[in-house]
Point group: C2
Chain length 206, copies 2
């Protein structure tokens, strides 16, 4: 990957498509780190990369896609959430957990997401960037789909359990959680997310 | 006027004591990092510190206390859990969340615990150390108190929500979670922990 930190090289951008895309991704990473998620426009990324804004749009359909590329995320969390929200509402909780454990079976995804969480916990700018992305592209989508007055708060509590599952099962790997099967995790945590999001109570556990 | 050139005896002895304690804490930090939580004995710490084992016992009642000192944790998680488990079982979930938000109101505690989680996520040895401590001193205590066959698994799921609350509300500070009052967090997350631990279903949310 072209990680040249040199300032924009306007007249020199002739080196081919791979270079142009890499320059855009590099510029996006710098913009997101400096301005947070909300503060970044594709236009500003184009300016920093020394390319035309149309070229940014040529490679990246929208800001979440550019964000995933800049952070080297092998998944598109916003698309996963959109898919889940298009499914049946009464199994939303278990669908979310199923999507998580399935994606996290891939070590590259696991590593990238955990590194992002870890960085966000330790650096103010990275924290703000992730915070804004989560709110704008995930929580507010869920809120809109739920159509509930306190949807954003509900989505926030659900997010805490999702983050906790990532960190405790895959990050710290707390024994009983790391050893549980995917099915058991889905069956146990799914009803909790359902309760947070929709208010449907989980069954009594024996 | 006292012109004795020898340094004051009492002052020197105090400095000696502080040095011995510091040497023990330093040795403990190294032992925990090298051998994990389970692999450390107070005897091995004494050996590494070059002091008598009795001196380690003089300063530190037990391994959890030494662990908290070595990691500069301003709280004793094992004692907090013991207190909570001594309280009424039917409000265990809300009691845990109340204890967490109350302790985390202190920035020193918040910072120390989040730094520990962050390190444990990024370093294999630190991860193993925290994993073993959590299992031995927290989860297995809870399991014993619950007296349920799958208590360890239940405690593991509860731990995932507790860790998630720490990371999402205090670490990444996801908007709606960071803005929620302590009371709302206790009222919302408490029933989830109760369900994980005892199986009591939370109320239907309107």
């Amino acid at each position: 990957m072209d990680a040249d930190p040199a300032p924009p090289r306007r007249g020199r951008r002739r080196a081919g498509e791979a270079d142009a895309r890499a320059a855009i991704v590099q510029a996006a990473a710098e913009e997101f780190a400096a301005a947070g998620y909300d503060g970044v426009s594709l236009r500003a990324v184009a300016r920093r990369a020394g390319v035309d804004a149309a070229l940014v749009h040529h490679y990246f359909a929208d800001k979440p896609e550019l964000f995933a590329a800049a952070l080297e995320l092998p998944i598109r969390p916003d698309r996963i959430v959109a898919e889940l929200l298009a499914g049946p509402r009464e199994v939303l909780g278990t669908s979310i957990v199923r999507a998580l454990v399935t994606r996290f079976a891939d070590p590259a995804t696991r590593t990238a997401v955990l590194a992002l969480l870890r960085t966000a916990m330790g650096h103010e700018f990275a924290g703000r960037m992730l915070r804004q992305f989560l709110l704008r592209e995930l929580l507010q989508r869920i809120t809109g789909a739920l159509g509930l007055e306190d949807g954003e708060r509900r989505a926030g509590f659900a997010a805490s359990q999702i983050v906790g599952l990532m960190v405790a099962r895959y990050g710290i790997r707390i024994g009983p959680l790391a050893e549980a099967s995917d099915d058991e995790v889905v069956a146990t945590v799914g009803p909790v997310l359902q309760w947070y999001l929709t208010g449907d109570p989980p069954p009594r556990r024996s």
